[in-house]
């Protein structure tokens, strides 16, 4: 059976594309699929550190494309022994050293071997973006609930649709449910209405995501992390399961009330 290629994109930088790619790739592999993730951000490699594989890089994406190594030599196996592989971006090359056609060919070749090919797209709408979307059949848009990120997402959704990647799906990252609750952050419905796209999931802002990333472990491995649970639900939806999108609610346990009264406000939120 042929696999499929999904591009993870956003427009604006720093909204969590790479984190989303690492967690979606890991989550799909945890569900028993064989997965390859590609860092297409040539010159600004990132996915390797998020996955904790930075010390294992020998070859990279451009080495594979230019034939300096075999395909399987250029893929780094995940350290948790999942059926998950990384193709890292070169650090010392330029974005226009490859063209969309070359990446499309590579994705097609990988689809024969893998269930899912996940491409981490660079920020911006230039050459790197055009390369990254070339091989994809589906697109995932990552945004945060901020004016600037949503505006850029709208622009990129237009470009993605023009490239015949219909109905990109939206992930809203770093949702602060306490702020949503008091009306100081746009919620799911506001954003979905503005962008007119289908939603794939919401990820709460979460300290555990940062501590996991510090260690080079995708947060989806952390059973206690709310962001990890959110990514698990997103992955299940990608995999065709119907999972409801819960509203994010501040955790209202008795200890949280105590903490709140004492003024110790942590980032602990739960899902209703």
């Amino acid at each position: 059976m042929m696999g499929k290629t999904i591009v993870v994109t956003s427009g604006k930088g720093g909204v969590g594309k790479t984190t989303a790619t690492a967690n979606i790739g890991t989550g799909l592999a945890m569900r028993g699929h064989n997965v390859v993730v590609i860092d297409s951000d040539i010159g600004l490699r990132n996915l390797d550190v998020v996955m904790g594989l930075e010390n294992r890089i020998v070859y990279d994406l451009v080495d594979i494309i230019e034939g300096r190594c075999k395909l399987n030599q250029g893929m780094i196996r995940d350290k948790h022994k999942l059926d998950l592989y990384l193709i890292p971006a070169p650090q010392t090359r330029d974005k226009d050293c490859i063209d969309p056609e070359q990446l499309r060919e590579l994705c097609q070749k990988l689809e024969e071997q893998f269930d899912y090919v996940i491409v981490d797209c660079p920020a911006g709408i230039e050459q790197g973006f055009k390369n990254a979307i070339a091989g994809a059949q589906e697109a995932i848009m990552v945004t945060t609930p901020e004016v600037s990120a949503i505006r850029d997402a709208d622009r990129v959704i237009g470009l993605v649709e023009a490239a015949e990647l219909h109905r990109p799906k939206l992930i809203i990252n770093r949702v602060n449910s306490a702020m949503v609750k008091r009306g100081d952050m746009m919620d799911k419905d506001d954003i979905v209405e503005l962008l007119a796209v289908d939603i794939l999931g919401m990820v709460p802002v979460d300290d555990r995501l940062i501590t996991a990333t510090n260690q080079g472990i995708p947060v989806i491995h952390d059973p206690k992390a709310l962001s990890g649970a959110a990514f698990s639900r997103i992955v299940a939806r990608i995999d065709g399961e119907e999972v409801a999108i819960p509203d994010l609610e501040p955790r209202t346990g008795i200890m949280d009330k105590v903490k709140e009264i004492m003024g110790i406000k942590g980032g602990s939120y739960t899902h209703a």
């Binding site: 004016v147 505006r151 709208d154 622009r155 100081d184 952050m185 746009m186 919620d187 506001d190």
Partner: protein, 107 residues
């Protein structure tokens, strides 16, 4: 309760409304900038529709998007050459071929 107290004490508006309204307008303006070719086909379509109701000049004198600080407008301007008699002011029927009763317009 906390939210209510906060509101009573500060009367602070929810900032999400501001974010949403600003975004709505920004997206509108961005999308217009990118609409290029579709403005031309809109112009042709509107001209076709208009000429079903009246005889108009060959083309619009003006057919443009105008922006103000808080809204976006489509401004168009075309010379009307001839109006059929049925175009009375309060003619609510969508079918232009039905003739209104004489004098019905001022009711």
């Amino acid at each position: 309760m906390r939210d209510f107290l906060r509101w009573v004490l500060t009367h602070k508006d929810q900032t999400k409304e501001a974010a949403r309204d600003r975004l709505r307008l920004a997206l509108l303006k961005d999308r217009i900038d990118l609409s290029g070719g579709s403005m031309e086909s809109l112009r042709k379509d509107v001209l076709t529709v208009l000429s079903r109701y009246m005889v108009v000049g060959n083309d619009f004198q003006e057919f443009d998007i105008h922006r103000s600080d808080d809204a976006v407008y489509l401004v168009s301007n075309i010379k009307v050459e001839e109006l059929p008699r049925w175009a009375t002011l309060n003619d609510k029927t969508s079918d232009p071929t039905t003739t209104s009763k004489p004098g019905a317009w001022w009711k």
